[in-house]
Symmetry: C2
Subunit: 351 residues, 2 copies
Amino acid sequence: MSADTVFGACPVPARGYDRVVMGHGSGGRLSADLLQQVFLPAFEGQVLAALEDQATVELSGTRMALTTDSFVVRPIFFPGGDIGTLAVNGTVNDLAVGGAVPRFLSAAFILEEGLPLEDLERVARSMRRACDAAGVVLVTGDTKVVDRGKADQLFITTTGVGAYPPFRPPVSIAAARAGDRVLVSGTLGDHGVAILSVREGLEFETTLESDTAPLTGLVQALLEAASGVRAMRDPTRGGLSSSLHELAAASHVGVHLEEASIPVRREVRAACEILGLDPLYVANEGKLMAVLAPEQAEAGLAALRRHPLGTNAAIVGTVVAEHPGVVTMRSVVGGERVVPMLAGEQLPRIC
Amino acid sequence: MSADTVFGACPVPARGYDRVVMGHGSGGRLSADLLQQVFLPAFEGQVLAALEDQATVELSGTRMALTTDSFVVRPIFFPGGDIGTLAVNGTVNDLAVGGAVPRFLSAAFILEEGLPLEDLERVARSMRRACDAAGVVLVTGDTKVVDRGKADQLFITTTGVGAYPPFRPPVSIAAARAGDRVLVSGTLGDHGVAILSVREGLEFETTLESDTAPLTGLVQALLEAASGVRAMRDPTRGGLSSSLHELAAASHVGVHLEEASIPVRREVRAACEILGLDPLYVANEGKLMAVLAPEQAEAGLAALRRHPLGTNAAIVGTVVAEHPGVVTMRSVVGGERVVPMLAGEQLPRIC
């Protein structure tokens, strides 16, 4: 048996596609394949940010962070936010988890002919509120229109520029070491389940809301309280599992999770059971995953919990030297299993 | 009769839409309306670059230029280039015409399920070649996938960061003065007609090719040769007419064109006649429009003509104090007419 067989690998064939499939947008293994097969060869020596969520560039002696994301979420309005909120917070968070202070945004809109202008106005107002909340300024934009049936209402691409503080924390997805602890800032899966319950018309006693939020303040609080922050990520599409797999691969380490420690809302767990989802793979849009040196983990946890966005923060796992590249988990009933890398697409168009 | 009636205004009602129409993406009056009605109110005090093609921001004491554009051209491959070439050159050119030196790019891809990976690879290679030719580096990216029928093969959004030289030329679309001369760097309409002839299956003796090219070198040559450069633009969607209308509105001046001086390829003119188009409104993707102080116009023209991208450069008009906001033209047969602002959509999805 090969190591792949032992560790379960992925249930869907990940390679050998000659056309784009939905899974190429999953944030999981197929997304990584697309990067490896198409983009990295074409941009050899470029695409500096292939592995991180943002790139660091130097311009006239000033180092800055740059990141971009397209947002294609369906539906464009959902409990807790809309595509505009998401487009601002998503890009803000990619900068923040790289240790940068988000400053400027650009926004490019692709509109489908027939979109009510009222919807566009509502999204624009949401973006403005999100910019104000995150302390960023939208400085430039673009609008294109495509014929009816050639887009889906509204796609937004935001690009963010961030400044590094004078003593920039050397956080990197490749910096984790055995013994480090893995923290999350709150409950997992809220965004993905909120979107899916709207799509599927599911109703719960309480409305499930997206957790979309800017992480800038939470990240600053963590960095000020704990010097041993090695890596940060906002586990969006592909969920915590995908962020941990990226960390494991980039840092050449294994990760071991304790299922009992992972915070998941009761309603989200119930919805996941109905929908056949695993909260570890479901997108978050306002949660921080942080990897800290062991002696700093408790201080980091306390700092997260003091922040309004981190009241449910928890230490959920440990970085290990064994099984590099592989994520394992001890289940609530005590068994240990491999957490496979997301292969296909669990929740299309979640962000 | 109101001034609007005298000057012909636009043949399509520009206001009062409650849904997005194709014309909102034209680069003409409806695009300006969308900005005024939706985006400027929502982002009051932000969107610094509403009128220019790029924004100037300051980060840790360094001034830089930032610009973004989505590309939705159909078809994605055409004579002279493809959507990838366009996505790089378009953003590079927006930086260059603002007097910045393009340095870094981000690229976000929205892929339609079913897109052949071969096509994506070809586009990625084109982008790499275009980056190398323009002297920019792609530093970060994103990929999203949407279901079949919810996009049209491939949309690309690029964002560019540019550096300003120590003595930054104070070029601005609002800086034109009466007496200034209007220059174009070459033949008009090549890109739009190349796209349209592919779409319509038109055949000519010679293949009409898009003029897509990075303008960085041409702009540098002009700035070095002539100190009196007031404004620069790359007249893309909406053509030279739209760039001149923006200039006239922002600088509170009129513009007077000499039709006989405007360079248009014979085949492009023929195609425009067949298709019922006016080359003044057709998109260019590798042409520079520059407004120069009168005493510098000849030096500027000579500099443009010495550059490979400027061999057909010409002085095509004059900035006038009369009729502010209005563009007029003396036709080849001697009559004078108003060149109306593009109202609706002449060529949808041209870039």
